[in-house]
Amino acid sequence: MTRAFLALIARDLRLAARVGGSGALGLVFFLMIVTIVPFALGPDLNLLARIGPAVLWLAAVLATLIGLDRLFQADEEDGSLDLLRQSPLPLELVVLAKAVAHWLTTGLPLALASPLFGLLVALTPPGMAAMVATLLVGTPALTFIGAIGAALTSGIRRGGLILAILVVPLMVPTLIFGVSAANAALGGTVPFATPFLILSALSLAAAVIGTAGAAAALRWGE
């Protein structure tokens, strides 16, 4: 079972890395948003530094949404989902494997690249460290919440819009606590640990609810 689980992660990572895969998509989209915001706001470094964490987090949410609609749809269309259901892996673990692969190709690169992009919004070094930490801990929640929406819309062509409408409201708590944790690290009255621990809790809860929810949606959707 472990072997099937790892094989599925490896296949999705390989697909993301190949030509036409979704590997760099999220990262490029993230970069586009973060680069364009300073141009829109003008050369006010203090303002940029103050809203920097919010801009990065917003970009992370939107970058996660890109390509999320194909998470199960691609497998549904070419019949791979039927093949996955003949494996000894329960559907929950299929969802978990695909979500892990999605996070490794979307959330993780975003978190690792955020110090670089933080330069564009005038983040201080502690701010950059806080961004890496909050994105690292918070982006799994985005992926797992998104997985539910992706499973619900897997049978719908052009389901991307419905997917966004379904999952963006659910991503709001993650966004709020992600930004407030990053801001707390830059100063203020709230200690960093409080919002950061809630953010971690959101990710852990989403990992359970998202896996079970997406598997249920896939079963129900046939």
Binding site: A4, A7, L8, R11, L83, Q86
Partner: protein, 206 residues
């Protein structure tokens, strides 16, 4: 193993596709399902594979221990379940790891369907018939007693059809079971034919 189907009925979006379907199949036996387009051949295979819930009736698999029936079968549907960006060998290696019960290596399986030369080509570069053969090679990389084949000869040339029939015969002689939905005649020894689908009646509401 043995598979028994009792009084199966299938309904798709409210329309009754077939009902009262019963058959049993034991080791070494083949069943060829025929019927007009839309008669429910693919739906029947999907129900047997556990992908679709029947409206009524039950499917039982005996002699496979505690495993669910879905883990004792191969379904090669009309979609090939291949990813264009992966090579033929990678696709089969993935299927082998995923399904367990490993039998032939990807190289041997491709050899058996006459595609050894295409092992390192991305599936997207292969023709429809070649993709079909890669999908059929999946039958060989994991050992599973029940083969469910949906229009297995579609897109295959005459030589590839003969290869496929030979593979099915070998599987049957090793005690496997084959259920194939097809329009083309399949020269399988001792195969029973099952015709499904009602004859369309006047005023049959769609």
């Amino acid at each position: 193993m043995r598979i028994a189907v009792e009084n199966l009925a299938c309904r798709r979006s409210g329309r009754l596709v077939f009902e009262g379907l019963s058959f049993a199949l034991a080791e070494g036996q083949a069943l060829v399902v025929t019927g007009r387009n839309g008669a429910g051949k693919s739906s029947l295979l999907a129900i047997l594979a556990g992908l679709l819930r029947p409206d009524a009736g039950a499917v039982r698999g005996d002699g496979i221990g505690e495993r669910p029936l879905a883990e004792a079968l191969h379904l090669v549907g009309h979609r090939d379940a291949l990813k264009g960006a992966l090579t033929a060998a990678e696709s089969l290696a993935f299927a082998r790891d995923l399904l367990g019960d490993e039998a032939a290596t990807p190289g041997e399986a491709l050899e058996a369907v006459g595609l050894a030369h295409a092992a390192r080509l991305p599936v997207a570069y292969l023709s429809a018939g070649q993709r079909r053969r890669v999908a059929l090679a999946r039958l060989l990389v994991a050992r599973r007693p029940l083969w469910l084949l949906d229009e297995p000869t579609a897109a295959l040339d005459a030589a590839a059809q003969e290869t496929l029939v030979a593979l099915m015969r070998a599987h049957l002689s090793e005690g496997g079971l084959v259920i194939a939905a097809t329009h083309a005649p399949l020269p399988l020894p001792g195969a029973t034919e099952l015709r499904i689908g009602r004859t369309p009646r006047e005023g049959d509401g769609e």
